[in-house]
């Protein structure tokens, strides 16, 4: 599955490579969105793809997200494999009707006849002083849409393999990319084509004192907290969910049962965030093992603040994760 050679890439480069490989491999793959063509995307994720694969397969759309999703759905109906980019995850909102009413329902409403292999990529999350409404984390909205999958990678090498798997798959997938990791996360990425399975959570650090659970941009935050805790002699387990839907409940529950203590970390607004679903699954499936409250570390119940001097108070930090950890450990 994994190619031989590897080089250090950041997330932008890894995703760019995945798109390039997918375009090479399958003529039905199309890449489109606002500014993805000549400009190569506002984050340069699609840089060079139009020049290489042509304007027919990598193209700019008019500024209309519902149109972009509708176009993707229709193309997939007709047999193509569209990979659409939405410029920022907060701009998925105008497309939510297409997503909630259609993207995830066509297979069900056509009783299996019309499946939609659509991938929608969008940068999400905060931490890098983006303008107002550019730092939203809407994964919970997507996870509550029937029939779609939601994947959020935490590193370049995972991103590449997961994206290729998403494009290969038969179902619609939202692929959310933490803006903070675009250039902030660098790692060895295998060359060539490889896929990583969707629907599997990963234990990215072992530990028996407690279990930290999160995904995407929060994985490095959890690992940082775990590092600090380890210096104090406390070894905590860290779980990267990677795929939110379909959720790998088995791995999640196993990880919590092992330690009996769980902290759930996400950067969206706390109420109604996907961390609620994680906590709910734990409260049902691991109750007999729990020795402490399931604590959520999340954005506050307010919009992500566009106020750069204080925005870091909103997005969960290692310090906040450690405070939560202290709470579950001293309970």
């Amino acid at each position: 599955m994994v190619a031989e050679k590897a080089r250090v890439l950041n997330m932008v480069q890894a995703i760019n490579e995945a798109l390039d490989l997918a375009l090479d491999r399958d003529k039905r793959v199309l890449v489109f969105g606002e500014d993805v063509g000549r400009l190569g995307g506002v984050f340069r994720v699609t840089e060079g793809l139009q020049a290489k694969h042509g304007e027919a397969r990598v193209f700019d759309t008019p500024l209309a997200e519902s149109g972009i999703l509708g176009l993707a759905i229709g193309l997939a109906m007709g047999g193509m494999r569209p990979v659409a980019e939405i410029q920022f995850a907060g701009f998925l909102y105008p497309a939510l009707d297409q997503i909630l009413s259609h993207l995830g329902r066509w297979r069900h409403r056509s009783r299996g006849r019309v499946g939609l292999p659509v991938v929608v990529r969008a940068p999400y999350g905060g931490g890098v002083h983006t303008p107002e409404q550019h730092a939203d984390s809407p994964e919970a909205l997507l996870a509550h849409a029937p029939g779609v999958k939601v994947v959020i990678p935490s590193s370049p090498e995972r991103a590449k393999g997961l994206l290729l798997a998403a494009i290969e798959g038969e179902d619609p997938v939202f692929f959310l990319e933490a803006i903070k990791l675009y250039r902030g996360s660098r790692a060895e990425v295998p060359e060539g084509y490889y896929t990583l399975p969707l629907g599997r959570a990963r234990v990215v650090r072992e530990g028996s004192a407690a279990t930290l659970i999160g995904y995407g941009g929060m994985v490095e935050v959890m690992l940082e907290a775990a590092e600090v805790a380890a210096k104090e002699g406390v070894e905590v387990m860290v779980v990267d969910l990677e795929t939110l839907v379909p959720l790998d409940e088995d791995t999640l529950l196993e990880a919590v049962r092992e330690t009996g203590r769980a902290v759930v970390v996400y950067e969206a607004m706390r109420t109604g965030g996907f961390g609620a679903e994680i906590a709910a699954r734990i409260a049902e499936g691991a109750i007999d093992y729990l020795q402490a409250p399931v604590v959520r570390v999340a954005g506050y119940d307010a919009p992500y603040p566009p106020f750069s001097a204080i925005e870091h108070h909103y997005r969960p930090s290692a310090k906040r994760v450690l405070a939560a950890l202290r709470r579950v450990l001293t309970h």
């Binding site: 209309a64 149109g67 176009l71 193309l75 105008p94 297409q98 009413s101 056509s110």
Partner: protein
Amino acid sequence: MKPKVVQYLDKGEFPLGEGEALSLYRAMRRARFFDEKALTLQRQGRLGVYAPFMGQEAAQVGLALALGEGDFVVPSYRESAMLLARGLPIHTLLLYWRAHPAGWRFPEGVRAVNPYIPIATQIPQAVGLALAGGYLGEGWVVATSIGDGGTSEGDFHEGLNFAAVFRAPVIFLVQNNGYAISVPRAKQMRVDYIARRAEGYGMPGVVVDGNDAVAVYIEAKKAVERARKGEGPTLLEALTYRLAPHTTSDDPSRYRTREEEEAWRAKDPLLRFRRALEERGLWDEEQEGELLAQLEEEFARELALADSVPEPQPEEIVEHVYAEMGPDQRRAWEALRQGKHVEEVW
């Protein structure tokens, strides 16, 4: 500048071959027959909520028959006539309106997708479907349909603009029947004709007398031809009227007058077309009688077929959510299959 309303029948023009004309009439008559039967079945509790199309047969069938075999229709909930004309079996359509899952799976080969309920969402999807045909070298044309009310939605705008920009081979049929449920045209928009919007997208906009089957058919043919030649989309507005309620749950006497209804009944597209055929000696009482007998027989057969489909099973609820069932669906499926709910089998 007032767009002209394309009209043939009242002007006594009839530029159709006999075969074409008769196919068109038969398909319209068959559709009307279905609509009447469906309304009866619904009253008997043998269909669910039903959206009749009576009065709009010329628009729907005229467009459907203007398409080629490989072309697609992307209908809204009111397009049963269009679906029938595209070859959707009657029993499938009955099962659909019976809210039976078997009515949701259209047979392979039927170049029509399931009807859309959320208004206007089909418009950008139709554009994507049309472009797919180009990528795959199959060059199919897509005809999609929307009501006057639906043109107020954002998706209508986004879809038409996309179609123009990408020169997609799409025909956007607006069945302007003057009402969005109870809301009359004048409260939906401040223009006389929706086709006035076409110019703003850079596509042709054509207004036809939607109760004139010849006009719809001819103009639809032209639009299909343009699309097939790579000249892009057309907005085709058919002025028409629904002679029945919005759905079987609706009571139109609350929002429109009997006089208005009667005036439109006089313009019934089926009768107008039949009259034209009769005037030209292409149709008579006897043929009509034969056709009705055939339709009666066909319908009885199809209804029996629909009735013979077993009741759906509870576990079908969680089937076809993903290509492969996820763990959450699997758990529910196992339970439902045993005649239980998931709470009973933890």
